[in-house]
Each structure stands twice: as structure tokens, then as C-alpha cells.
Symmetry: D2
């Protein structure tokens, strides 16, 4: 940590700050400029209530030097994490495709979607049983019945399944059915939910919050991992900006940034990022080429009849075309799809 | 709802859309321009899966005309909501000040804070017992013990108390102690939590999410209200933008916008909005002058020793000075403080 | 400046960086932590191509300590700048109101506006002769003829006049007419224009760019001031965010932030910030209470007939009401209006 | 255009609006809902001061139906624009790479860069002679001397050249040297500059403004095109958001959005978008895969010695590696590189 003193801060202020640091068993290194004095702090920072140093007389600001996330940090575990879900690998050299409807609406429509995405090349079926909707008057999901349909679709197709959870009860119920628990963007900083998901030890797909920085996102992963669950899959799904031609703005740079800072796998969800079906294909290609470990895509047998997110869902034939475009590029850049 | 057809959409597309609408028992009004046809839809829109109309052939986009929030909407209840908490009024002609430490750290420091804010003129004591922190390695709150200290502070000072809740268990526990349940910014779209808070029938202080639009915020209020709890107090606490000289950007316009769209009272939290103690006074004055119904301010007996948010906390004497600046302006503009 | 080395950077990297700094005549102070080494740099930083230090082996990042703006910086000139425009004072203890139509549309309508704003209490008339419009197909302004009408309005009413300039030619022409040159938000980083305005020595009203940080804004002021013109008036006019219920988001915190960082006066333009007439009054009150030095408000004798920005313009009677609300608050907080 | 009336607006208001529209020679179609009346307007909207309709009694808001940009609009010219610069094609099936230093610093270093980028496969040399810098105290460019060096580099290598212009004088001078005039992000809404560039008839590379929506960007192109210059090349270079791990946020979705809305070619500049050298390769690959027509990349023979933007510049060998990664993917997806 670095402490920047105010320009021409009096010598006694500087000395007080140094004493404060030393009194807590840390070392202080003074760098005295003509205008500004800088104090480097060395040692175990958990002994400091570091925010408060800003309130000592003469202090301009403090700057952290080391990152606040640890378990997800590549500096402490350089090798990429590979999560194996009954033979389906996420991370490392593979490129995984998760696809399916936004919401589980009924058994038949879900099975139709499952067969279609399996046929096109997806390895994992997505489908929401607990739907967080902006308005309380929108369709809220089939809950446990939806999970049962998902499990039946797994049985029939061999696809693994991923479902979003939105409450303690949903975590407890879903833990009996799913292969991957999804924490949605709106709940990325619902820390109680993150801890519950961490305790299940089931792999967690953690979507980035609408306005979460990458550092906050990795800190959210830290909540899951600090409960002893290191199987976290990150998923970039667009951030909120001023641009309105897409529902959110896909932050494609998050892929190389995460690859540099963390060992966790990162997927991209172009359906939620854009909110517009006709942009999904271009964004999927971009995600693959940027180095992402996979995609999460909304596919519905008949998007015009979907109860949720129809406009951003691909139909099965468009999804198949997309997979056929992705596969040779994946091969060319050395990803197994 | 309005449906905009693509430029020069064929007549059969237009007719299909009209048929679709009529088949669901609604009326369609065609407005045929040279380039573009527009179809107005009249009737009960809940009979339509309206998103999906976008997917019908020839449709460019749909535009909602009426707002999605109902119970919080001023159009349906023009008179301002006034919430009476044992004699302390929030909304209408009063200007309420809530103040206290970010986190409850211990009995003595809380009582010192409570006495100080009471003395300066606050009516309600704030203090967090369940703290949602960005990093799992930061102080997380005293939980029920913190609530007990808050209740003791109420007993001793006569102040009402408000505490944040972050989980089902926290709601259930806090319901036994507090006068107002607070839903924090990070949980504004934690819909399960909103519903639980709604069911308690205790007044709910609902902070705006970091990147929530005003419409999404009112829809979050709708989740509380649709459970039969119409005692919702909104609190603007800054939104996330590109500017870094303040921690968030106080959206002062939210005050007149909410006053126009909703009957619910709106407070401003200048401490979280700015994150910087020296800006709190100017922003508090702005909030009062803009028409807000009150303030929520962080005050700590000794900010340099606070376990959370020290840099944005006022000390008791600065808070007293602020109240003395606010009072004559409140009087001048006809607010009772 | 501070240089942060990578965790466990080899000793030879650290030495190379220190040598690089010393070779340019500056001093380097090493603060060696267990994980991270930090190097404080003392001396004249203009001798360093400082960005490139980031590229030296083992360097993680560099952090500037001192601010890049000098002439506008309060640290170097603590007293507030007061600009005297023929007796009308901007800055210090006064609260100035600039008002008038968005665009000069004709002589009669301008004179009607001028008389109305003079009557209500404005000291300065605003009116655009060169209009930067998003679409080339919108009304672009009367140019020099507009300036002549403004000068006539000054003659008749005694109001001072402020007009926006958008090109070299506009600066040269306007310099013959106006009391204050306005640089609009879209041109805040049009550095050639800033330098030209600086050379005129006429007071410059510098609007904040739509997505400019406060630091970039003060650096733009620096372009004007470094040409020898220290009469710069800042004007906050809303920044671009995700919120859509107002056209822009008024960053009211900019007022106390500027008051802390700079000696220059700061006005607020609630008309452009909100884009909505009915919010102008609340935001004007907030600006005054927050400590702003004045307001710039759009007033049109008949907003429904305005060629530009009608929806955000007040009519004369609403403007008069607003001034009557502002005046007692100004008096109460010690501002001369 | 659609006019939405307030809920339960009185019949006389509705009639007044209809009369207003008809009095200007347009047609009005009324769609009367139970709560809300909607009026569709058909005819030549330039006869309306359309903003002002919002101010008529009973009007809630107006909604444009057709887009404000015309010449750049794909609806009016479906075929993609291909710009031929002495045999180098931009748009259509080709993938062009522009590369070179941020600023022209001297003849030798420029020639070294030119040879390197030519060797790796670039077709066009970039290099700034007029540099818009945030601080007036930073290096501002070599101006005409820089243009001369660029022309010499063209002569020696056969590369075409592109240079940024920042003022009327720069346009006039640069027109004698360059193959493509570049308008930078900070000047995207400097309409006078856009018009001057339009009049030269030289191809214009128009960077997106830091906080410009795609619609504003296309309207800026419209300023160039409405002067009779239809050779506009768009360049996405990152937008301003809250995320700080990259300097800006590359809006990769802009590629498919532009491809849908406009016939103009679109490039991506990953160097300015990220500001970080190590992310340039991943973002370049993403741009290619998303369907962009080319790249603009900063390459410097010795980034650590660059006078501007060193940290985001590739060195020649990294650039060569990147081109070798791009080429097979370009071939696979049918782009000529």
C-alpha cells in the first residue's frame, strides 16, 4: 500500500503517519519529494483499518498495490482451471457450448430444444426454472417442476444441465438436480447467495453484474471459492452503458483481461449481451476468436412463442448454422469444440 | 403499445400482425405512412406475449406506451404517500434525517453515535448489522447482536432505527427489532428478498441499484408493494458512471423525476453517493433544495476508527453544523425538519 | 510519480528502473516489500517520457501523484477567481443568472426573450448564433446576423451577452460582438478551438464534455489559460450515463469537486442537463444550494415555437417564478443574486 | 412519427394536435385506447418543428419512427460501399490493416515503422502529425513536417497513408499529402471540421466519439457525406464506461450493428480501445471474426521510446505474429487480407 501525503504536508503529519504504521507492526518507507511525500507500507495489511489512514492529518489518498482477490488470482495459481462435468471439460483447450431456452416453459418445448441443441453440437443445456424478472407481473418460472423437466431432458439427451438460482430455497432444491448452478447478473453481489452456492460444492456459473467491474466480479468469485468451492466458471453477458442499439454492451475485452488476471474459465453470453437475435452470430464468432472458453446461447424451438426473451433467441436451424461456422475456426485456433 | 413495421413491409405482413392482435381479443389501429406502417394496440396487453410480436414477419420494433409499474405510479395515486413511523413522518411536507454509522461496531460506539445524531436533529438512527462487502475478507457485521445494540440505542434515545437486510434469515431476525428494513443497492434486483420484505409489512427503505434506471427502481418497489406492503421509501445513493472523483455520481435529477412519476417519498444518501466526507454537506443542501423528503447520512463518533466507510463519515460536530445549515433552508422552502 | 513493480520482480529489473530514472537527473526512492517493490520518483517529471516506464521489464504500472492541470489548480492559487464583465461579477460571493433562447431565431423573438429575462433578474443573455446540431439537416443558426441581434439586445437591455463558437471563423467574428465566448460540450476537447479562444483574451465559458472527467475538463481549461487567458468560467451541463428519464445526468457533485480542486467559477446548466422543462426548477435550486456560482437557463418567449430545444426551455413566467424562488435562498446562504 | 398523448387527455387536446399536424399539410391517424390516445403522423416531417409538438397541451411524448441519417443508411443503399485507394480496397470482401506509430516522431523512426508494418502485411501506414492531447503540456505533433515524412514513407514503401486532422488549417495542409483524412474521437462532433473534410473529397476515416451512440456516429458521417463526399470509413475505437481495466471498452457489437444499419465499411482500433498492448491481439482476432472490414493498430519500432501511447503500441515482431494469426482466419471466413 502507498500513502500519498498532501502537497507540502508538515513534517509532523508525515511522522504521525509513519508512527501509526509502525505501531501496528508494519514497515514504512518514506520517499520525500519537493512537493509531495510518499510512504510505502510493507507488511501484513490486514492489521490496518486501511481506509481510515485517509483520515489522518495531511494524508491526500492511499493506493492499494496488491489485488483484493486471492483464490481466483492467476498470480497465485498460474495454471488454468479445468472443470470436468462428467466428461464435459470447461477451461483449458476446450470450447464448450451451452444452449437452450431462457425459461423452462413446459416439458415438450424443453425436450424439443434439448434435442435441437444436442444435434447442433451443444454439450450443456441451459433453461431457467427461477426467473428474476424486472416486473413482478411477468412470468416468474416453473420452479421445481422446471428442474424436473431439465433432469428429464438430461436423461433423454445426455446433455449436462445448468439452471439459475435466485434464493436459498432455490439453491437447496436445485442442488438435487443440476450439474451447474448459475448465479445471474442481478445477484452477482448477493453475497449470501454466493456463499450458499459455494457450500454446495457444485460448479457455479457466475455471470458478471450489469455494472460490475472485473475486479468486483473476481471478488464475487472469491465469495464462492472462500467457502471451499473452486469450481467457478465466469460468464461475460454485457455491461450497462449509454449505447441503446444493443440491450447491453458486450465487453469483449473482459476475455483477455480475465485470462491475464485469473485462472478461471470464462464464457460469453451473446444473447443477453446484445438482446438482438441477428447480432448473436457475429458476437459468438468474436468470443471464440478472442480466446473465450465457450458460449452460452439462448435457443428456442419457436422464438415467437417464447415466454421470455424471444427476440434474442435463435431458432434451432440458425443455431446449427452458427455451430457450423464456429467449428472450423475453433479447430484452426486450436480449441476443441 | 405501438408496433412499427419495417419500411415498405408487404401488405400481407401488416395484415398478419393485425390478425394476431385481434385473435387475442385486442384492437388494432393501422396508421399507414408512405414508408412505414404503424399499428396501435388497444386493450389488455397481458393477453399478449408482447416481446414476441417483434418476431412476426415485417415488424421493425414495438414500443410500450404505458409504464410497467402500477402501485408506485403517481398516475394511479396522485397524492404523496406519507409513512408514519411512531410519529416520525416520511413524505409529504416533512424533511427527515437518518444518520449513524455505516456498521454497528459495538455498543458504546453506537450509543455515542446515537446520542450525537439525536442531539443534532436526526429522527432515525441508521447502522448496519449485516454488511454486504465487496471482498469476503472485509468485516461482515455483528448480525443479531448488532440489531440488539440498535434496539438499545432506540430505547435510550427515542430515535427510530433502520437496518439493512441481505438474506431471508436477516429479514426474519431484523423484523423483530427494526422500524424500517433497508434493502441495499446491491440487492435492489434480488427479487426474492424484495418479496420477503414486502410480506413483513414493515416500512422498507429501498436504495437504488448502482446501475438501475429509475423505471427499474420503481419496478423493484413494485415487488415489495405487490406483496401488500405499500410503505416503501426510495433512496437515491449515486449511480455508476465514468467519473472517478466521486465514488458514484449522485443523480440529483432522480428527485424531481420520482416526484413526477411516483407518490412514494424519496431520500438522498450523499455519503454513499460521493464516498468523500468533504462533499457531503454541499450534496445534502442540494438534495433538500431539489425537493427530497430527507437524507440518510453516515456519522461516526471517530471516523478514523470506523471499521467500514470511515472516509465518507461525518464526525458529530460536522454533522451538527450541517443540520444547522439545512434547518433554515428547510423552513424557507416550507419543509418541516 | 510512483512506479509499482510486478510481484517478485527480479532485483536486476528494479535496478534498471532506478538507473533509468537517475540517468534523467531525477531521484528514485525504493520501498521494497515482501511481494512488491515500489519506487518513488522525485524531480522534474517533464524529463521523463513517463508512459514508457510502464514498458520497462518488471514494471506493473505507474501512478501519477500530482495533477496534470496547473493554472486552474487551487493548490497553486487558493483564492477564487472573480471575473468582472463590465460590472457583472462571476465567482466569489455572487450568483449570476444567464438566460435566453437556445438559438437566436430572429430579432423580435430575441428582444422579447431579452426583456423577459432582464425583467426576471438575469444579468447575462445567452443565445446561439452557431449551432452544433446532431443532424446536418437541423437548423444550424443565423451566424453573424445572430451575433448582431445579440449585440442589439445588449444595447437595448443592458444585459451582457454570451454566444457559442464552433470554428476559427466563428471565434474571429464573435470576438467583435460578445462579452463571453462559449465553448460547447461537443467541442470541449477541440483543442485548436480552445487555443484560439484563449488568444482572444475574452472570458470563456467552457462547458463540460458529455463524457469528460473533471480532470479532463480542467485540462481543457488549461488549454485556454496556457494561451494567457485566465478568465475561464466552467459550466456543468450533464454527463452521459445509462439513465434515460433525463437527456443527460446532472453531475451535481461536480460543484463541490471543482470548488475543492480549482479556483475557477462554476455554473450549472439545468436545461441541457435534464432536457426536460419541468425538472429545471428543482435542479436550479439544487445548484444554488450546492454552492454553484450561477446558472445558465434556456428561456424562450414561446417554447412551442422554438427552432431548437423547445422542450427544455422555460417560458418567461416560469423563469420569473424560478428567480423568485432562488433569490431568498441565495440571500440566506450568503450569495448575492 | 408517433405522438403519445397523456393518459385520459381531454378530447379537445387530441383535436388540437390533429389540427396542428393537418395545418402543416401532413396526415394524422388517431388510435384511441382506453387510457391513451396515439396519433400517427404521415408525410414530410421537415415541415414540422417536431420537438415542439411535445409542448402542445396533453402530449406525453413523441417518438421518431424513421432514422435521422439518410446517406449512410443501408435502407436507401443496400450494397456495401467499397472505397478504392489506389488499388487498396476498403469494404466489401477485403480485410485491410492500417498500422504505424501513434505520432510521427522523426523520419528514421517512421521509416523503420513503415518498413516493418509493410513487411508484416499492412497496406496503409498510420501516423499522427497533429496530436490532440489531453494536457497542453504533452507533445503536440510535428505538423506539416510530419506529413512530409509520411509522404516519404509512402514513396519508399508503397503504403498508402492516413493522418489525423484537428483544424481547418490541418485539413488544408494534409489534403496535399494524405490518402485518407482521419477525424479523431474527440472531434467526432466538431461539425465544422467534418464539413471541411467532406469538401476535400478525400476518403475520411471517422472514429467514433468516446460517448457517441451509433446513431450519433452515423449522423456525424452524414455531415461529411452531405458535402458530397461518400467515401467515409467508420472506425470503432472503444467507448467510455465504468470499467477501468481497459482504457476504454471496445464495443464489438458496433460491428454487426453498423453492418445492419449502414453500407459504410467499419474498422476496429484495438490499440486505443484497450490502451494495453497485451490485449491487442485478442481484440484484433475478435474484430476480424465479428465481420469488421479491417484494423487500425499502433506499431512502434521501440514502444518504450515512443513519445505518445507507448504502452498500447506493438513492436514489429508482435505485429508480425498477429498478422500471421489473422491471415488464416481471414481466409477461412472468406475475407481477403
Amino acid at each position: 500500500m502507498i500513502i500519498i501525503m498532501r502537497p507540502k504536508a508538515p513534517q509532523e503529519n508525515i511522522e504521525s503517519v509513519i508512527e501509526y504504521i509502525q505501531s501496528r507492526g508494519l514497515k514504512a518507507h518514506l520517499s520525500q519529494g519537493e512537493m509531495v511525500a510518499i510512504i510505502g507500507v510493507v507488511g501484513d495489511k490486514t492489521r490496518l483499518d486501511n481506509q481510515n489512514i485517509e483520515l489522518l492529518d495531511g494524508v491526500e489518498k492511499i493506493m492499494p498495490v496488491t489485488e483484493s482477490f486471492k483464490l481466483s488470482n492467476k498470480k497465485f495459481k498460474p495454471d488454468p482451471t479445468v472443470i470436468d462435468i462428467g466428461g464435459v471439460k470447461i477451461g483449458g483447450g476446450s470450447f464448450v457450448v451451452m444452449a437452450g431456452p431462457c425459461a423452462v416453459e413446459g416439458k415438450d418445448v424443453l425436450l424439443a430444444a434439448a434435442r435441437a441443441v444436442k444435434d447442433a453440437g451443444a454439450a450443456i443445456l441451459r433453461g431457467g426454472a427461477y426467473k428474476p424478472r424486472t416486473s413482478p407481473y411477468s412470468f416468474q418460472g416453473l420452479e421445481e417442476q422446471g428442474l424436473k423437466f431439465m433432469a428429464q431432458a438430461r436423461e433423454e439427451t445426455g446433455l449436462k444441465i445448468v439452471c439459475e438460482v435466485t434464493s436459498q430455497q432455490a439453491v437447496e432444491t436445485a442442488a438435487n438436480y443440476v450439474d451447474i448452478l448459475q448465479i445471474g447478473a442481478r445477484n452477482m453481489q448477493n453475497y449470501e447467495l454466493l456463499k450458499l452456492a459455494g457450500r454446495t460444492k457444485i460448479p457455479v456459473l457466475l455471470k458478471r453484474g450489469l455494472s460490475a467491474t472485473i475486479e468486483e466480479w473476481l471478488n464475487a468469485a472469491e465469495y464462492v471459492m472462500s467457502e471451499g468451492n473452486d469450481k467457478v466458471i465466469l460468464c461475460e453477458r454485457g455491461i450497462r452503458t449509454f449505447e441503446t442499439s444493443t440491450r447491453n454492451t458486450l465487453d469483449i475485452s473482459a476475455v483477455p483481461v480475465i485470462k491475464e488476471k485469473s485462472h478461471l474459465p470464462i464464457l460469453v453470453d451473446p444473447s443477453h449481451a446484445s438482446g438482438v437475435r441477428k447480432y448473436v452470430s457475429a458476437l459468438s464468432m468474436a468470443a471464440l476468436a478472442s480466446g473465450a472458453d465457450g458460449l452460452m446461447i439462448e435457443v428456442h424451438p419457436d422464438p415467437a412463442k417464447a415466454l421470455s426473451d424471444g427476440p434474442q433467441s435463435l431458432n434451432p436451424s440458425d443455431f446449427k448454422l452458427l455451430c457450423e461456422k464456429l467449428r472450423p475456426v475453433a479447430k484452426l485456433i486450436g480449441k476443441e469444440m
